[in-house]
Structures are given as structure tokens and as C-alpha cells.
Symmetry: C2
Subunit: 156 residues, 2 copies
């Protein structure tokens, strides 16, 4: 395998890397987008994403194996058993990651045709943003949010 596509390791001490190991490449993110968008069946995902079946199979297997999606059998008359993919509670939490990517794309790479998907509170209908918050439920400005090494950070 070329170094271009060397897979991030799930045993990395870096939590970003571990999550990337599950999502694997852009396909992982786009498959999740499909599921959040109400697409749960293999053939529909394949058609929407124009992804090769073997690649879709591999990515779904990784997402199921890491507890992001669950795989549920379903039957249609006269057909063999097929599977539908649903978000697990852990998978639901990746909504924040997808929303963060979406928010950035809408702000910094706006599409000439306008925003196609909005984030809203399903109860209030208010538009939503992804932001940093603290334990007192206060919103923290981006420039005040910082990453700090803990005592567990590997020494080089």
C-alpha cells in the first residue's frame, strides 16, 4: 500500500487519528452523510455515492465493526435477506463532526446555488451552529479554545 493511503491506526494515542481510523477516508464521512440523510440500504448508498460495491462493503464493515452503524436484516417479497444500516448511539454523535464539516463548507466554500441542507433544532426550528461550550453551558469563542497536552501525552 502506498504511503498516500496508509491507514490511520486505531491504537494511536491521538484521538483524532483513532476516529479517522474508523471513518477511513472521505467515503466513511459520505456514507454517514447518507445515513443521516435517511438512506439506509446498500443499493441506495451505492447509487447515490457512485461508489464501487467492494469499497462500500469494506467501509460499511468498518463502520459496523467499530460500533458506528448497526446492520439490520430486512426482507422484501421474493427477495433474499438484505441489510439496512442504522446509526448507533455512538454513530449519532458523529453528527457533530459532519455538521462541523458542513458549517465550514457553507461558510468558506459557498455554493453558487445557495445552502442545500440546514441544521435546525427539530423542536424550536431555530438554526444551529457547532461551537465550543464549557461545563457551565457557556459558549466559548473559537480563539479561546485550545488543545493542551495532558500528562499522558507521549514524550518524544
Amino acid at each position: 500500500m502506498s504511503s498516500t493511503h496508509r491507514a490511520p491506526r486505531r491504537d494511536s494515542t491521538c484521538a483524532v487519528t483513532r476516529t479517522l481510523a474508523v471513518l477511513n477516508d472521505s467515503w466513511g464521512f459520505l456514507i454517514l452523510r447518507e445515513v443521516f440523510n435517511g438512506t439506509h440500504r446498500f443499493t441506495e448508498m451505492r447509487d447515490h455515492l457512485e461508489i464501487a460495491s467492494d469499497v462500500l462493503t469494506a467501509r460499511l464493515s468498518t463502520l459496523v465493526g467499530n460500533g458506528v452503524l448497526s446492520k439490520e436484516p430486512y426482507h422484501e417479497p421474493g427477495q433474499r435477506t438484505r441489510f439496512a444500516y442504522q446509526l448507533t448511539p455512538a454513530g449519532e454523535e458523529l453528527k457533530l463532526v459532519l455538521a462541523g464539516l458542513q458549517q465550514w463548507g457553507d461558510e468558506h466554500l459557498p455554493h453558487p446555488g445557495g445552502q442545500t441542507v440546514a441544521r435546525v433544532d427539530r423542536t424550536s426550528g431555530l438554526p444551529l451552529h457547532v461551537a465550543f461550550v464549557d461545563d457551565n453551558a457557556g459558549i466559548v469563542a473559537l480563539q479561546d479554545a485550545t488543545f493542551v497536552h495532558t500528562e499522558n501525552y507521549p514524550r518524544s
Copy 2:
């Protein structure tokens, strides 16, 4: 190019896809992580990430070309001009995406050695979370946050 690594398109109507087109693959995310972690020089990034020089050059070029990083010349005695990479204001906003990946990895794929990097408010020192907030500065529960199609959503 195999369909496995078909690049997401920057002209997609999907904002998630447009952002992924800039980050390209896991390397894009990991390069950003390096810059957020204080690594700004090509050789240091290459050594930390164990990435091939040509791949790093290509990813940095995409990130600079899309306004995520800026490229600043620097000189060391007796050396030719080299470049250091800094986050632009747009690049700073991707902090939310990296933090979202990190938060998920720490929660769902915890490392046996413990959390290595924490997110804190640099003023208050309080731990930070990535969350959905509304226009009234209220934190919105994950299950209440939903994606809805706007009138610009492409009709199939």
C-alpha cells in the same frame, strides 16, 4: 485513479463534500492537527507524520490553495529559503472539526493510556466540548439537532 480514492468535488452542492475536497483524505486532517499542535515546518510535519514528501507537498498545496493555511518564507543562516505553514482565520475554524473527531475518539475509542490532549478554555481553564448551539446561545441536545433540506436541495 481507482474509485476507492475518487476525490470529493469542490463544486458539490453538499457542503460536507466541499470541505472534504479540501481536506482530501486523512492526511489533510492530520496535517491540520500538526499545525494546531504547533508544528509549522515541512520537515517537522514529514517526520511526525511519516508521510512521503510528495504527498505532503500536494496536501499542503491544496490546503494553501483553499485558504486553510498560509505559507510564509523563513531563512536560517546558510540555508535556502524555506516555508512555514500557519492557519488562516478560515483554517482556525476547522478547530471545531478536529475537536469533534477528538471528542468522539476519546469517548468511543478510549486509549488505555488515557486522554493525551484536552480541550480547554485558555482563559478560564475549563474543559471544553463540541456541541450544537442555537441563535439564542442555548445548547441543543444532540437528538434535537437535525439536517433539513432547503429549497436549494437538488431534485433527483
